[in-house]
């Protein structure tokens, strides 16, 4: 005769053990140990940079610009970045999306007050610009308040973005030095041109 304990004892122990381990795993996040899910690129996010000056501003602008472009294309920021990392020609949609994304990024930074005043960028722009000594000295002599009153960072950045040959940059992403040169040159040129224009008007 089989006793009830011998019939139910081991199944009860097995049930308790499996249930206990399963509950322990699930209450500690079992089943959720997965890779990060890409964030929605259309939602505003705070971006920071370790670099300062024009480099830092460029990095923040690019990070937000990629967000905006990805949002426009309906893909994640990460998927768009990986897409750009593939060699080959770029579509018009990609180039336009990045252009528009960068412009939206300028707007976002202006709105949240993270755009630096243009006077913060002048010294760096002057160091990199090839200006005659008198003009450079005249610009450097201008007080920051005059420069900031005369020039808005968002206008300067918009001009820089419009001047950039984004297709060429995107098609030569493996030439990092070339990209840096182009980006920095565009930013420097935009700051310099705006300052020179403003100085001429003042004079």
């Amino acid at each position: 005769m089989t006793s009830p304990l011998s019939l139910t004892g081991l199944p009860a122990v097995a049930l308790a053990l499996v249930g206990g381990v399963l509950a322990l795993q699930l209450t500690n996040g079992g089943g959720e140990f997965e890779p990060l899910h890409p964030a929605d690129p259309c939602e505003a996010r705070a971006v920071t940079s370790q670099a300062e000056g024009i480099d830092g501003l460029t990095e923040r602008l690019v990070l937000l610009g990629i967000d905006g472009a990805a949002c426009r294309l309906g893909v994640s920021r990460e998927a768009f970045t990986l897409q750009l990392a593939q060699p080959g020609p770029r579509t018009d949609a990609e180039v336009e999306a990045l252009h528009d994304g960068l412009l939206v990024a300028v707007g976002r930074m202006k709105e949240d007050g993270t755009l630096p005043p243009i006077s913060d960028l002048v010294d760096e722009a002057m160091d990199n610009a090839d200006l005659n000594r008198f003009l450079e000295a005249a610009i450097r002599a201008l007080p920051d308040s005059v420069i900031d009153a005369a020039l808005k960072t968002d206008d300067v950045l918009t001009r820089a973005i419009d001047d950039l040959d984004l297709r060429s940059i995107l098609e030569n992403l493996d030439d990092q030095d070339g990209i840096n040169e182009q980006m920095e040159a565009a930013m420097t040129e935009a700051v310099k041109d705006a300052l020179v224009d403003r100085l001429r008007n003042l004079l």
Binding site: S6, L7, L10, F33, P35, L36, T48, D55, T81
Partner: protein, 447 residues
């Protein structure tokens, strides 16, 4: 010599059945050493189990015309010779051929040793020793293989088998086997063999997938993986005292064992992190289940059925065909899942690199180094440390880079764990199918 005969035969049985999964932890080393592909290297495992599963029954059928001690000695010698050949193999094709031959020798040795152990110990004790040796061999195979691979090389797995087998040949020849009983009409025990096959397929998930997850997914060393999976054999040892304490009927014992294996595999599929501690309890469940089922089912399939060796052949076939079926089902699933995991893993890595507190130039350098590493690994999980070690960073950037490397490793672990989930759950499903074969109502026989 006479006192060593039975232990040597028991060790031989354990060695042959350990070979079923002994190379699991060595597969990455074999892949690199023999410059082969993942698909081909899997055949080092599949070939042995497939051949052993296919030749076990025909070998058993031809047994009545042969002397057990001669067949055993011949099988053990063939097993030893082909083990040595495995160790010397210079190409994947040779290794697979040697593994096939090893399985043929193994089948002869297993069946011969059964008859010899019965001759030495008597019917009940002899069969019990044979069954137990098989369970111990199956459970400890991956552990032994991992330790040997880490301590010496993958070839050591095969080299260490040779002296045991060489000693077992004369030992086998000294045993006078009991006279063969007249064959009767016992048909193979369908239900225990079917349960055994399904459970073996499920256990493949535990023994094969888990070590792959540990070594390839979580980047643990073979020795660490071996130590980790030793929980399974240790828990299997604990199953007997538990069964003795609760005294369940055999069918309840097997059903509970199947349920424990299914539960353990399901838990292995959903660890909360890549901490090895989270694998201990699920493995203990699998080990307990293994200890409650495999030897009991093998005994059920052979109990009071003659000729004994023929029914032993069926159990060997069921177990190893089950392993092959398990590999055939699980390998395409987890390789496809690993491929599918690449995109989320790359996106997670991209997100972390983009947001890393590094200078823009250093971020780009990290991205380029990671890209090169991904290309070099050709679809396998990359070693990010190599990519970071190749970077020339300013000292003040190093802490942030180290944090980023750790975070990226965590993302890879997450992606690999996710990729193995479905396979573990399928393994659990196979164990539940095994449970169904146990609890399904039996056909009534007319009185």
């Amino acid at each position: 010599m006479r006192r060593a005969v039975a232990p040597l035969l028991v060790v031989t049985v354990a060695l042959v059945l350990a070979d079923s999964a002994v190379v699991t932890l060595a597969l990455p080393d074999i892949l690199r050493h023999l410059h082969t592909t993942v698909g081909q290297v899997a055949w080092v495992l599949i070939a042995f189990n497939l051949v052993l599963g296919l030749v076990a029954v025909p070998t058993a059928l031809s047994f009545s015309r042969s002397q057990p001690r001669v067949v055993s000695a011949l099988g053990i010698a063939l097993f030893a010779g082909s083990s040595a050949w495995c160790a010397l193999a210079g190409s994947i094709e040779v290794l697979i051929a040697a593994r096939c031959l090893q399985a043929v020798g193994g089948a002869l040795a297993l069946l011969g040793c059964l008859e010899l152990l019965v001759a030495v110990y008597g019917e009940r004790r002899g069969v019990a020793a044979w069954v137990t040796a098989g369970v111990v061999g199956t459970a400890t195979g991956p552990v032994a293989g991992g330790v040997l691979t880490q301590a010496f090389s993958w070839q050591a797995i095969f080299v260490v088998q040779v002296p045991f087998a060489v000693l077992a040949v004369p030992a086998a020849l000294t045993v006078r086997a009991a006279p063969a009983l007249p064959p009767d009409r016992h048909r193979p025990a369908l239900r225990p063999n079917l349960t055994l096959a399904l459970l073996s397929a499920a256990l493949t998930a535990a023994l094969f997938l888990l070590v792959l997850l540990l070594v390839e997914g979580w980047r643990r060393s073979p020795a660490t993986a071996a130590l980790t999976v030793s929980v399974v054999p240790l828990a299997a040892i604990g199953a007997r005292p538990l069964a003795r304490l609760l005294r369940p009927p055999p069918v309840v014992e097997v059903a509970a064992g199947c349920f424990l294996v299914a539960g353990g595999l399901a838990c292995l599929g959903i660890p909360p992190s890549a901490d090895l501690a989270w694998t201990v309890a699920p493995q203990a469940l699998v080990g307990l289940g293994l200890g409650l089922t495999v030897d009991r089912l093998t005994s059920q399939a052979m109990e009071l059925r003659l000729p004994r060796v023929r029914h032993a052949g069926w159990t060997i076939a069921a177990r190893h065909v089950g392993v092959v079926v398990g590999l055939a089902i699980l390998t395409p699933v987890f390789t496809a899942d690993l491929r599918d995991a690449e995109v989320p893993a790359q996106e997670a890595i991209t997100a972390l690199v983009l947001d890393a507190p590094l200078d823009p130039e250093d971020k780009i350098a990290v991205a380029e180094a990671l890209g090169a590493e991904l290309v070099q690994e050709e679809g396998r999980i990359p070693d990010l440390h190599r990519a970071f070690a190749s970077l020339e960073l300013e000292p003040e950037e190093r802490p942030a880079a180290t944090r980023l490397e750790r975070d990226l490793d965590a993302q890879l672990e997450r992606a690999a764990t996710r990729a193995f989930r479905d396979s573990f759950l399928i393994g659990a499903g196979l164990a539940l199918l095994a449970l169904l074969t146990v609890v399904a109502p039996r056909r009534r026989t007319p009185s």
